[in-house]
Amino acid sequence: MNIKVVLKILGTVLFWESVLMFPSLVISIIDNTYEIKAFILSIVCIGVIGIILKNLNTTDSQLRKREGYASVAICWLAMSLLGALPFYLSGAIPSYVDAVFETASGFTTTGSSIVTDIESFPRGLLFWRSFTHWIGGMGVLVFTMALVPSMGARSVFLARAESPGPSFGKLVPKISETAKILYIIYGAMTFILIVFLIIAGMPVFDSMIHAFGTAGTGGFSSKALSVGHYNNPWIEWIITVFMFLFGANFALYFLIIKGEWKSALRNEEFRFYGITVLAAAILICINILPLYNYSVTEALRHSAFQVSTIVTTTGYATADFNLWPMFSKSILLMLMFFGACAGSTGGGVKFIRILVLIKSVAYEIRHTVHPNSVQTVKIDGKSLDNDNLKSIMIFFFSYVAVIISAIIIVSLDNFDFTTTFSAVLATISNIGPGLEVVGPMGNFSEFSDLSKITMTACMIIGRLEVLPVITLFSPSIWKKH
């Protein structure tokens, strides 16, 4: 592997990370709170490292698949380690492991928190914490690609490793243009959401925080009770709808902008996603009716919000679903596993993969009944070749394998099974809250450092969809040639 190329990319990414810290610094200067120094120090520190690495001299700047994958994994790791500096240096989160957990949870748009008293945080830190969601949602490397088009043709490997889903589809021939379009759509939708929230009656600063959390499908809130704090049906419905929208493939929005409504709505993954969400919301609504005195509007408001927040792996909460019946909890647990759509900002296994797996099973059954039948697994009318199927199955297995290994490590803390299992699932699927101790009203502060480190790793592994991170552990990747 050509380490210098990787470091150069890391430098560019860190440089932009320090630039992206400026808005938070400005807010803390306006508020004149205690974390100003921490921000200045972090910006200088990250910026200097970034500039030094960026200007490394390399003769061979070829970026192959392995460099692409390694860069993405290393960048995300470094971003989380260094992005934690403001929390740690300001003393807001005294333990560095905790600070890294919180930052990784931000960048990977997980939204799991170890902070017990979030409302005491200064606004600068709150802003940085939520802004990491927004940056991480669409991806930092995609962001740098939009800004630095000179990263070269091979940066497609970076985009592939970073963007969620089995394949990275270009919208237009140039990758930097594609990245730009994605960010423009992303930014515009976020802006519309902020405006809507303000109109619905949320304070401006809170609107931004919650818009970032929704757009990145992250889930950090500035309130202890999350979105439930406002107890405002308008706000909840707006966020419900927008979470759903941010959980869909952004390529569809590009199609809609181009005026191809029909092909966007005909997209198989989107249909599957829509139907699943709708069915889950209705089933849970019926199941929880008794809890809300048989008021359909109330029950639907809560079930729709919770389904939307879990399926898109956002992790906001308006109700403590720990108190809901087992059937509802099971459905939510299933949705945690599914995750959002490919090409969205959400995490999880992704609907497209589930769809392919279901179709493969159906195909296998048909093949058993009619052994000589010839068929292929088709998505949107196009048949998938064996390589695609293989990579989806390998992904699925490695995903499950990581979950199992993480559960074994986390179980050393001796929490009950639901807590342990849902904590790991919530972090690897980038959701945020799990069940029981880590439920929507609880948090992750009670875990040991080992578990926190494991779960931090889970978040990054889940966000980058396993393989880019795992390849780092292959000894042959580190060899020079």
Partner: protein, 452 residues
């Protein structure tokens, strides 16, 4: 520009590679998933799998908004159909590769009836290039500029040349001819020579000037510019046929050695005035029997790179003045050049270059000012032809007062059909054609040669 390339073979891939680095939006269409995934991995282009002549695929490639459709699949007929449909669906310009000799006399009609903007025939282009090389036997490579008024010639410096051990500034004073040294390649490094530069043997040098001046220059160096008269070709491929046609027209004698008996009969039908020898061109005995030592030039055009190489080496060793060989694999170029064989032709490469020139000219009519762009010295330096317009901020300033970027050289100015080889006191006027050599990379506007 938005460009659709149908067919991701060698030519298609090379085109996509070059054009995507020149900031065009490229969509590549091919029916083979493997070649597409290779392109998708290595190039910044959009790839679509499917038949390029199908309406559905062309629509998916957004042909209605395409400025240019280039069809370079293996099938001539497929390329034609693809271009016709593309044009009907709204592509502004179309280029088709048509290589079958059967069609070679019908280009005019094909272009008209199928509304093609350009027809390319790799074999014919390669034959053209070889013919140019044979006309200038001292040079390893010849390019023309400004409607063929200017020639840029590549040659390798020899021990015996009168260039050695003189500084460039002294040399230019002594030269009887008005030529300019544009670029030198030494030990793999490209140098834009300055006044203090001293030539070494084995340097690869580019000079620009009028044809007569370049001849004078070669004479001054002590090399006789004796024209090739008797040409031996091995391999009776399509290129050989086209080449023989051209060479016969300018009065050279051609002898073709071809192994396949049936092919020989066919060659004899098409080329009635040419001596066709049936024999193995890689066999030294056959070559000796045909008195290879007496040939002025030797051209190896068989289908196999290795055979071309071996027989060329033998001819070179026998003292044939000019040896040209065809090499398909581009990565062989440096190895072959090391062996002392500088005149290499690669039909695919030539084709790609010709299309590139067309695209750049097309692009020029849409705003940017490059009229012709050549890559020289293994793509490491560029020669670009511009027309100076009033917007350029370097008009009417003496060249010595211009702050040019590093490694940029204004190598010639063409004003009212007269060629000026510029010195410090010359200047550029509105409407001049300017030829610039750079190694810094793509320059899209004349003003860009100035230091910011």
């Amino acid at each position: 520009m938005k460009i659709i390339i149908v067919g991701s073979g060698k030519v298609g891939y090379t085109l996509a590679q070059q054009l995507s680095t020149e900031d065009h939006d490229i969509t590549l269409v091919d029916s083979d998933a493997d070649v597409l995934s290779h392109a998708d991995d290595t190039l910044d282009v959009m790839c679509i799998k499917g038949n390029g002549a199908s309406v559905e695929i062309l629509k998916e490639a957004n042909v209605a908004e395409a400025d240019l459709l280039i069809a370079v699949t293996d099938g001539d007929e497929l390329n034609m159909v693809c271009c016709v449909i593309g044009k009907k669906l709204g592509a502004k310009h179309t280029v088709a590769r048509i290589r079958n000799t059967d069609y070679s006399n019908e280009y005019k009609m094909l272009k008209q009836e199928l509304e093609l903007d350009m027809v390319i025939n790799p074999e014919m282009d390669a034959a053209d290039e070889i013919a140019r090389m044979l006309q200038f036997p001292l040079a390893t490579n010849v390019e023309t500029f400004a409607n063929n008024m200017l020639e840029m010639v590549e040659f390798r410096v020899l021990e015996s040349d009168r260039l050695i051990d003189a500084r460039l500034m002294d040399l230019t004073k002594k030269l009887p001819a008005k030529v300019l040294f544009c670029a030198v390649k030494r030990d793999g490094e490209i140098i834009i020579p300055k006044g203090t530069f001293v030539f070494n043997p084995e340097d690869l040098v580019y000079v620009i000037g009028e044809r007569s001046d370049i001849s004078n220059f070669f004479r001054y160096m002590g090399r006789s510019s004796h024209k090739a008269k008797n040409i031996t070709i091995i391999g009776g491929s399509r290129i050989a046929i086209y080449l023989t046609w051209i060479l016969n027209e300018i009065g050279m004698n051609v002898k073709i050695i071809e192994l396949d008996k049936n092919r020989c009969v066919l060659l004899n039908e098409v080329l009635s005035n040419t001596l066709i020898i049936c024999g193995d061109g890689t066999d030294q005995e056959v070559l000796d029997n045909e008195n290879i030592q007496a040939a002025d030039a030797f051209v190896a055009l068989t289908d196999r790179d290795e055979e071309n190489l071996i027989s060329s080496l033998y001819a070179h060793q026998c003292g044939v003045n000019k040896v040209v060989l065809k090499i398909n694999r581009q990565n062989y170029f440096p190895i072959v050049k090391k062996l002392g064989l500088d005149s290499i032709v690669s039909p695919k490469f030539t084709t790609a270059n010709n299309i590139l020139r067309y695209v750049r000219a097309l692009d020029n009519s849409q705003g940017s000012a490059v009229e012709k762009l050549y890559k020289i010295l293994d793509d490491e330096a560029e020669v670009a032809e511009f027309t100076a317009c009033s917007s350029a901020n370097l008009l009417n300033i003496k060249l010595k007062d211009l702050k040019l970027k590093k490694d940029v050289l204004i190598s010639a100015i063409v004003r009212n059909k007269k060629i000026i080889i510029p010195y410090g006191n010359d200047y550029i006027k509105d409407g001049d054609k300017v030829i610039v050599v750079t190694k810094t990379g793509f320059i899209s506007d004349l003003s860009e040669i100035l230091e910011d």
